[in-house]
């Protein structure tokens, strides 16, 4: 087989449990984002735009939707005869089989996959973040510096540094210490969970890690510290553009509405760095005579007869006459019926908000702000007529007519 310089391995097995009802039936990387994307479109598009054409996607939790979405990899130009995108679920071999025990174990179990391409480098990615990054520059630095491992880092505000894995490094960028969520951080360089390894080194450490029965088989907890202890050459790669974790309801809501903030540097319309996605065949969006649309992002297949303000409508959403959608995300196929109100909320795929129902509240209308938050309605659910869903509530079952939650 033709030699491949770099193989990307995308860890997409995570449940994303903090997204609650939104990841009940789908893996976190399959969560819709930005009107027509899913989170996984970002690493996949980054790969293809960076010239990486061999990508393994490691799936474990609720993979059906993700498998379906990735398909042959055509939307990302990753349907290749040599390389391309491959879904890698846990499998059984003659010694039995195992679930992926941790991030490192997931890669360990797929050493045969990587070996087929005989790469120099392996790029480890996750499907948890929204960002545009040219991985080829990072790999180039890895080559130039002759590093064993290069870790992408981003400067975070010092006061938030204790929420991240922090890399402490010398002025030349070599890492001397890694601290996971330190109480008193020494630096504000947070690991982005993006690693470039020289393949022979990674293979060695994966095999050693697997042999250690006490290991939790995790990159952050085991592989990186072990390599540091052995004085391997580990260097940071500094990244300064937009990067956002979408692990919680609040951060998912924020990262979406960031697209409407002209001050935020996340341009999805750049023809030189397109974010590709699998798009449904839907007609153009229709904005009616009675509609009022302001400061919003709307995509194909939507029919808008009501008011939409500072919100994102995903494909095939219907907002009926008199309905109001403000500061909200309405995911594909959802219907907001007449005179219903959706404020500071995330409405899941194909959910229906019946007439005069209300979901979510504005922070200024809540007496105790500590109880305020974004309301969420799960996929395929129905919120009945005149029902009232308060702020910060997560709806997991149908809401009956007139109910208050």
């Amino acid at each position: 087989m033709k030699k491949t310089e770099c193989v990307a391995m995308l860890l997409a097995g995570g449940q994303g449990s903090r997204l609650g009802v939104l990841t009940q039936n789908i893996a976190k990387p399959a969560v819709p984002y930005g009107g027509k994307y899913r989170i996984i479109d970002f690493p996949l598009s980054n790969c293809t735009n960076s010239g990486i054409d061999t990508v393994g996607v490691l799936t474990q939790y609720q993979p059906l939707e993700l498998n379906d979405y990735i398909g042959s990899g055509k939307p990302w130009d990753l349907d290749r005869s040599n390389g391309g995108v491959h879904i890698l679920p846990p499998y059984q071999n003659n010694k039995g089989g195992d679930w992926y025990k941790g991030t490192a174990n997931a890669i360990y179990q797929n050493i045969p996959f990587i070996k087929r391409y005989d790469p120099e480098y392996v790029l480890i990615l996750s499907g948890d973040h929204i960002y545009k990054m040219d991985y080829s520059l990072m790999i180039e630095q890895h080559k130039q510096t002759n590093a064993d491992c290069t870790i992408a880092v981003i400067e975070v505000p010092m006061e938030e540094a204790s929420r991240f894995g922090i890399m402490n490094c010398n002025p030349d960028g070599t890492i001397y210490e890694f601290e996971e969520k330190p109480k008193n951080p020494k630096s504000n360089l947070a690991s982005m969970g993006i690693y470039v390894f020289s393949w022979d080194k990674l293979k060695k450490y994966l095999e050693e890690d697997e042999a250690d029965p006490n290991s939790s088989n995790d990159f952050g907890k085991n592989i990186i510290p072990n390599m540091l202890n052995d004085n391997q050459k580990m260097i940071v790669y500094r990244f300064a553009d937009y990067w956002k974790d979408v692990g919680t309801i609040d951060s998912l809501w924020e990262a979406n509405l960031d697209l409407l903030d002209p001050k935020i540097k996340l341009d999805l319309s750049d023809p030189k760095w397109r974010i590709y996605s699998r798009t449904p065949s839907a007609p153009p969006q229709y904005i009616s005579d009675t509609a009022k649309v302001q400061n919003s992002l709307i995509t194909e297949g939507c029919d808008v007869y009501g008011t939409v303000d500072f919100s994102i409508l995903f494909d095939n959403v219907i907002v009926e006459e008199g309905a109001v959608v403000k500061d909200s995300l309405v995911m594909p196929g959802a219907v907001i019926k007449k005179n219903a109100s959706v404020q500071y909320a995330i409405i899941g795929e194909n959910a229906v908000i019946e007439e005069n129902a209300s979901v979510g509240e504005r922070p200024e209308d809540v007496s105790d702000l500590s109880n305020w938050g974004v309301a969420v309605v799960g996929a395929d659910l129905n919120v009945g007529k005149n029902a009232d869903v308060k702020a910060a509530v997560m709806i997991k079952e149908n809401v009956k007519e007139g109910d208050k939650q």
């Binding site: 055509k74 999805l268 590709y276 839907a282 007609p283 153009p284 229709y286 400061n295 919003s296």
Partner: protein
């Protein structure tokens, strides 16, 4: 499930001459329509939604934009090992020239027909905008035992065409074919979507070529009514025949203003497939005002847009006003510009504070890449 026994043949160049400047550098089939489509998308989607998996496109001239659009035909799921999409350009064999009518056009495609094993052929031009159940038509064709079935709609004859067949029907049997002038009388107007067996088509083409016939309607159908059993199939869904730039504007307006037309054309069970462009969703700015519009992805709207269609990637700057217009992809309407009853082709720029006004009956057309 067995793959169906039908071959599709599409004529994207038929009636190019009717659209004036709009088809100067493109075929009728590749004429942009309704925000994100080319007219041929409707023909191809009708075929594909009926399970047809082998389609020949008989091209004539100006087919570069069409080939660009079709690419590997992935969007229509016609990138197949078995079957799929075939371009049949002129000069495909030594005897075939740039054709004048469907008969000699098909003669150039004889090899394609010969090497296909399908029993039936569906032929269509690209001047008809409709989304209908072709499978139902096929079932009716087989059940009736007819030699030829041609789809029609009830309505007024198109203004600018003199070659459109109007059927006289007895039940569904065509008893007479007239090329009637446009008047106020409702007729059964042929939509030139035709089903017959491959063998019959081959025979017609051979004989037609030997006799130097060009028009399949005038020279074959009309003259063989006594010999052949020709049936009509009524399309009750929305169907429009493109016969002029004015009709193009009128049909677009019908799609924008009539929810029933949109329901027919964008029927959920029979999606219209097209090449995707991976634009981001459309951004409606703080000062935007949009009423009664069809809008594709990738637009940035900071101005006012009413009763109009915006194709992909259109920029409407602050204070710009667009009314009753069709703006094709990647056009830029700069700040303070004001356009009404205008059709802007692709990548047109309308400069700041410029005004362009056509009228409902005479919309202004601005050619591709122009700067106003």
């Amino acid at each position: 499930m067995r793959k169906n026994n039908v071959l599709g043949i599409v004529f994207p160049n038929a009636h190019d001459e009717l659209m004036g400047e709009m088809t100067e550098r493109r075929s009728m089939g590749s004429l942009p329509f309704c925000g994100r489509y080319r007219i041929i998308d409707f023909s191809l989607s009708n075929l594909v939604n009926a399970g047809v998996s082998k389609v020949g496109i008989v091209t004539k001239t100006n087919y570069q934009s069409l080939m660009d659009h079709i690419g590997s035909a992935k969007a229509w799921d016609l990138d197949r090992k078995s079957g799929g999409l075939f371009f049949l350009p002129p000069y495909s064999n030594t005897e075939a020239k740039v054709y004048k009518g469907h008969v000699d056009g098909l003669f150039g495609a004889m090899n394609f027909l010969k090497h296909s094993s399908e029993k039936f052929v569906v032929m269509c031009d690209c001047d008809v905008i409709t989304n209908f159940d072709l499978n139902d038509m096929l079932k009716r064709h087989i059940k009736s035992g007819a030699d030829i079935t041609i789809a029609y709609k009830r309505g007024l004859m198109p203004l600018n065409r003199h070659d459109v067949m109007a059927f006289e029907l007895n039940g569904d049997k065509v008893t007479d074919i007239k090329f009637a002038a446009s008047d106020s009388k409702e007729r059964c107007i042929s939509l030139d979507i035709t089903i017959m067996s491959k063998d019959l088509l081959t025979e017609i083409i051979k004989e037609g070529y030997e006799r130097n016939l060009t028009s399949i309607a005038r020279d074959v159908y009309q003259k063989s009514l006594t010999k052949l059993d020709i049936r009509g199939y009524e399309i009750t869904e929305y169907a429009a025949i493109m016969d002029s730039p004015e009709t193009y504007a009128k049909v677009t307006k019908e799609v924008v203003c009539d929810p029933a037309v949109r329901r027919d054309l964008f029927c959920k069970t029979r999606p219209v497939f097209t090449k995707t462009r991976d634009d981001m969703p459309t951004i409606y700015g703080l000062d935007s005002e949009v009423k009664n519009c069809l809008i594709a992805d990738g637009c940035v709207i900071d101005g006012t847009v009413k009763n109009s269609v915006l194709f992909r990637g259109v920029k409407v700057e602050k204070g710009a006003v667009i009314e009753n217009s069709i703006v094709m992809q990647d056009a830029v309407i700069e700040a303070g510009a004001d356009i009404q009853f205008v059709t802007l082709d692709k990548k047109v720029t309308v400069g700041a504070n410029k005004t362009l006004r056509g009228t409902e009956t005479y919309p202004i057309y601005v050619r591709k890449n122009a700067e106003v």
